[in-house]
Amino acid sequence: MTDVVIQIVNLTREYLMGAERVQALRGVSLEIRRNEYVAIMGPSGSGKSTMMNLLGCLDTPSTGEYWLNGQEVSRMPDDALARVRNKEIGFVFQTFNLLPRASALQNVELPLVYAGTSARERRDRSRHALERVGLGNRMDHRPNELSGGQRQRVAIARALVNEPSILLADEPTGNLDSATSADVMRVFDLLHRQGQTIVVVTHEADIAAHAERVVTLRDGRIASDARQEKVQAA
């Protein structure tokens, strides 16, 4: 039981677009275990983004259940969800989403600020997280003084600093060239080997190839869920 990090039962999500009712997810059930490396794929309009928002507790489902690390989060109020996002989830976005006016270190400290960690501990843990992604020498740089790959690594450090149950990445290499992409994916592979549960939402097959399991969505339903041989990082 403790092995299951994410358990989704018959999840649906509807939106109202003007007068029209759009069904983004039409009953999805999924289980993700600790230390799994899962890629969620699908063409645009398949419900990928909705899935990502629900998994990241940024949104709540219309019906169905979502258990994250033993807690039912599908019916939680806003502030409780904020706490879950803070403790259980580390986000990595396509556009990095770093605060432009804060240094790398300050960006990484942000989740700890909202967790109420003391200033000294914040600093120590953030340094450590930046060192883990190989940016120990860039702590005081602002995002605009860093390359795209470095920015994404700052974002990964920020996602990891609270030791979340899952690392949730949304098209993490979408804004990077292929060399840098490979670089970032190597970091993911490394983290996975260290025991981190990772969920990557992507439409690129070569990114999904890094995962050991690929879930494909089509029209708001799971079209396939397959384990695969992990490709070795080049």
């Binding site: 990241g56 806003d78 502030d79 989403n97 006016r101 942000l110 909202y114 920020r158």
Partner: protein, 413 residues
């Protein structure tokens, strides 16, 4: 709670957008500047009026018995004025009656004054204030002497033609000469100068040193006291309490002497330093009553400007709010962040206002005879208003920010 971070961010925002910040601070800045400056100037006036005006012109723990009040700053109606003119004058008998019957220990001096021409040392001067007084007057007015001495009780009793002159008269009539022992002709009679008082300076631009004092019973009385009436009778007591007691006693004695029935009003005036200030108190009261209104207007305007700046900041930083929410910021974290930021902006405005207000007060102090005194409480009020206006102005933008949906906010450009 990221309090320090929010303050630091607000200051960074202010610094990077100096011109915009300046305009957003202007309202609060003007309000607080105004508050500090007006309070400082009025407080300064208060100190000035109490120390300089009242105590110099009336004297410490001193009151005067007069026909009508001599310091009138309030509104005097024609009717009041006519009633005053119908009053009997104070005569010598009134003075000796009070002096004889008053039980509170006191120093007394009768006085009459007028303005006339004087001649001395081959020069003449017009419109010089001449005053006949008793020897107690020097104690009452706390005069120091830069040369010579006051006249003695014997000289006063004998009504000798001697005089004490103010510093201005000494400088004007006897430039470079020692005036002691010299003679001044007033109304054709020579008076011997006994002493010169120390320079007292000016009050509202009027010199306090252009006078000649002679014994009450000297021949000058015939010029200064017309028809055997007296202008003022000064009474000085050792302490404030005794003064209040003496004022009560004197009022009773005068009413007995004038045979006033209980229903009748006093037909004389007892002028205390406090009474002399009543007109000024009225003026400063009006200023203090109008001040909150004027300050409030600029603070409301300042608050609205800050609210707009904060609304702009919220829409410019929607993405940032989304990021913070994704990373675990609760509603109240976002709310606090923007309220603190707004309060910081406003407080910076208030701080600049305080500095400018104090500066303005010092400019007034340097360029006018008013000694502006900065009141510490007004600085406290300024800081409080700055924080308060900022918080109030920040609540609405901050609550909008805190209610943003994280998904939509993350998608914002």
């Amino acid at each position: 709670m990221p309090f320090v971070e929010a303050v630091r961010m607000a200051l960074t925002t202010l610094w990077t957008q100096k011109l915009k910040s300046f305009f957003s601070l202007l309202g609060v800045l003007i309000g607080v500047t105004f508050l500090i400056a007006v309070v400082s100037i009025v407080q300064g006036m208060n100190v000035y009026m109490e120390n300089e005006f009242a105590n110099r012109l009336v004297g410490l723990n001193t009151f005067q018995v007069r026909r009508m009040p001599n310091f009138n700053m309030g509104n005097i109606t024609d009717e009041m004025w006519r009633e005053w003119l119908r009053r009997p004058r104070i005569n010598y008998g009134d003075a000796s009656f009070i002096q004889a019957k008053l039980e509170t220990p006191a120093i007394f001096s009768r006085s009459c004054d007028d303005r006339t021409q004087i001649v001395a040392n081959g020069k003449s001067a017009k419109d010089i204030r001449i005053e006949v007084v008793d020897p107690g007057y020097f104690t009452i007015k706390n005069y120091d002497f830069s040369a010579g001495r006051p006249f003695t009780a014997q000289e006063a009793r004998a009504g000798l033609p001697v005089a004490v002159i103010g510093n201005d008269v000494a400088e004007k009539m006897f430039p470079g000469i020692d005036p002691i022992g010299k003679s001044i002709a007033i109304g054709g009679l020579p008076y011997r100068v006994l002493g010169v008082t120390t320079k007292q300076g000016t009050l509202f631009g009027m010199s306090l040193d252009a006078f000649i004092l002679a014994p009450f019973d000297s021949p000058l009385k015939r010029i200064a006291c017309r028809l055997g009436y007296m202008d003022e009778f000064h009474v000085q007591t050792p302490s404030v309490n005794q003064m209040n007691q003496a004022v009560g006693e004197t009022e009773g004695l005068m009413r007995i002497r004038r045979q006033l029935r209980p229903a009748q009003d006093n037909n004389f005036a007892i002028q205390t330093a406090e009474g002399a200030l009543s007109g000024w108190k009225k003026i400063s009261g009006v200023l203090f009553a109008a001040l909150p209104g004027l300050v409030a207007i600029s603070l409301v305007v300042g608050g609205i400007v800050i609210m707009n700046i904060m609304l702009m900041a919220v829409s410019e930083r929607t993405r940032e709010i989304g990021i913070r929410k994704a990373l675990g910021a609760k509603r109240r974290d976002i709310l606090a962040q923007f309220v603190i930021e707004s309060a910081t902006i406003s407080t910076v405005g208030a701080a600049i206002g305080i500095v400018l207000g104090i500066g303005l007060a010092f400019v007034v102090k340097a360029t006018t005879p008013l000694p502006a005194a900065v009141a510490p409480w007004s600085i406290g009020v300024g800081v409080f208003l700055g924080i308060f206006v900022g918080m109030v102005a920040g609540v609405y933008p901050a609550s909008r920010a805190s209610k943003l949906d994280p998904i939509t906010a993350l998608r914002a450009e």
